[in-house]
Symmetry: C2
Subunit: 402 residues, 2 copies
């Protein structure tokens, strides 16, 4: 942002502090003499327009704001002003406007990670909704760290966002602290895929338990009795709706203790020196082999994410384990890539559009209606049947030639 005081154009400097144009009229003076587009060098203000046209700056403001009662300015001056606006290539200083109006038409979106397909999809959809409603989305990521999330939220508020969307789950933070630190002076909607915030607030989340329960039922009907859930090592499973749904399904069919059926894979993602997010498939291969070795009775698995299911499916295939003939797989997330695996994965949908719509609507309700009442919106998700799940195998004990 170039301040008018930093311009080192000689003509400009010369005119400063002398006569009528001492302070503001210089740019239009210059434009009279040469046709160079000064808006590229320094910002043109309403004052500049006003002085060039010979009216007061407030008139320029009135003309530009183009209120429902536009017949308060004579057609002639209106024309001259608009003409000058065009000629001088005026662009409003949105900071000043925001300061004056107390509104920026901006919403802040705090995302846990930029690498997730779901983040990209939500961001893109959110942008569509926002554009339509006359808002801009400013996204900043938080590395899924709580402190950074809070810090950047305050920064965004300081920057004047009209509303805030915060995505992420923070299972290691006590609920009281969450409630205290996630309260802001602007309308806020908390968003998470499967882990609702453990306190009364305005939030949207995926009702993942429904889909997972469906998956267990589906597998049960196919004759499966040894169903495992596979996820990464994470503190948050107890509060996660995916696990809740799994637990519900397992219990309703008396298939054992859900906790014992939740199998933790080792961490399989890291960021390399070049800043890229790497999925270490070797780790997944060995973890898969170990799982199969230790659980030869397993006939079906439910993976907590497509990202995990796809390499596991691949590993099975290379091990000679047929899917679904030997083991059935149900995945989670409906990543478009699951359409083209071999076989295509049965997966629990993540209805991105609905989730984004609901989040945006809830935020707009907060902004437009100053609604601050806690409200939870749950978007249920359904099981999508494809070819990775089938009838239980005959030999309940799996034998593998390694």
């Amino acid at each position: 942002m170039l301040s008018r005081m930093t311009c080192d154009c000689p003509l400009y400097a010369q005119e400063i502090g002398s006569g009528k144009y001492c302070k503001y009229g210089v740019k239009s003076l210059i434009q009279d003499y040469c046709s160079f587009d000064w808006s590229i060098i320094m910002a043109v203000t309403q004052m500049d327009i006003a002085e060039r046209v010979g009216v007061d700056q407030s008139l320029v403001s009135v003309v530009l704001s183009n209120k429902p009662t536009p017949i308060k300015v004579s057609v002639a001056t209106r024309q001259r002003i608009l003409q000058a606006v065009k000629e001088m290539n005026y662009r409003p200083n949105l900071l000043a406007r925001a300061l004056a109006k107390g509104k920026t038409h901006t919403i802040g979106f705090l995302t846990a990670s930029s690498f997730l397909e779901i983040t990209a999809a939500m961001l893109t959809k959110m942008d569509d909704f926002a554009e339509e409603a006359g808002y801009e989305v400013h996204s900043v990521h938080t590395r899924a760290e709580f402190d950074l999330t809070v810090k950047r939220a305050h920064k965004l508020i300081g920057r004047g966002v009209d509303g805030l969307i915060i995505s992420g789950a923070f299972p290691s933070i006590p609920p009281s602290q969450l409630q205290a630190e996630l309260s802001f002076s602007v309308p806020t909607v908390l968003f998470s895929l499967g882990t609702p915030m453990p306190f009364a607030c305005r939030q949207v989340y995926q009702g993942s338990s429904f889909g997972v329960k469906q998956a267990v039922d589906h597998l049960y009907e196919l004759g499966h009795r040894q169903i495992y859930m596979i996820g990464a090592k994470w503190k948050g499973w107890e509060a996660d709706l995916r696990f809740a749904g799994f637990n519900e399904g397992i219990e309703s069919h008396s298939l054992g203790g859900a906790k014992e059926k939740l199998y933790h894979f080792p961490t399989y993602r890291h960021t390399n020196e070049d800043g890229r997010r790497v999925r270490d498939d070797n780790r997944i291969v060995s973890a898969t082999k170990e799982f199969v070795k230790n659980h030869p009775d397993c006939t079906a698995i439910i993976c907590v994410s497509d990202d995990l299911a796809m390499p596991i499916l691949d590993t099975f295939t290379r091990m000679g384990i047929r899917v679904p003939e030997d083991i059935s797989i149900v995945s989670f997330g409906n990543d478009p890539a699951t359409l083209y695996t071999h076989p295509p994965l049965s997966t629990i949908d993540t209805p991105v559009r609905k989730l984004t719509q609901a989040t945006f609507d809830l935020l707009m309700d907060g902004i437009d209606n100053k609604n601050k009442e806690p409200k939870e919106v749950v978007i249920p998700s359904e099981l999508i049947l494809r070819q990775s799940s089938g009838p239980v195998r005959k030999d309940l004990r799996l034998t593998i030639c390694d």
Copy 2:
């Protein structure tokens, strides 16, 4: 953003327009009576602090800015002010600060798509560099559309960003228009992976031609003579450095006309109703089959992106074409996933860290040193040899049982 005028607290309303605290002191008054954190309801300003402490607002500003000469305020008042700042949970209005200082410590990053792994990686790295330098990155995406890019760039400038990074290539826009519309009043760096802007400007791009030439040389040395480049249908290939490198390699070894060796796949990506980006692998499968059928002499391919190479490799495998025994593949991008394909793909690196660093540095040079000279920074990229490229097969004509 809540304006102070919209507060409907009765005590506040009652006090308005009466006596010393008529306008500003209400919040601190209220805070004296109840311990509720009003900063959650409405913004606390320096004025509020000042009135509570009983000093002038400008003093608060001085104390908070903590200039190199901090010994201008008595220790006592300084303490009292800081105390009040803490108690009232003051947070600066960054809009006002920006307006007054003419600087936001913010940079705008216009990204072509949120779905690309490379975008996520750059965003994350950029955020690291920015954080370290005391800047914030605000990213908005542009759907790779030129008009939207320009429009949003101006919006960001209006919002006061100190600098701009614009990613993308716009082969269908004439250079003169590019030059005209991509000139802004703030320091700007243009960034692209393989298609430099066709005019003098400050830009960073990957020197892809080097890596691709290396790939051709590498394949040539392995005995390959029928080398094809495979990419999506796109207007921009003529100006793309990947094609330039391919051309250079093909010509230097007299392997034919590069243009005829550039094979266009049909569009294989689209956005579904749910807002998710889908790679249609079925299309890639049929296109691959058609390619092989029409080019039985081909012994090696260079794919313009990993995203295309991976499903092609998969298709080859399922067709019974062995890689690299029957056909060699060299890919482009060094997506971490290429480490774990079967076999792992030889690929041309995209040095994300270096690219991001160079882009950020060039922007900072523009911001700090007001450097506006056109400057091109080229980051060369090297071929990474893995297992998908090997000696040319014996039978030069490939026979496939379909």
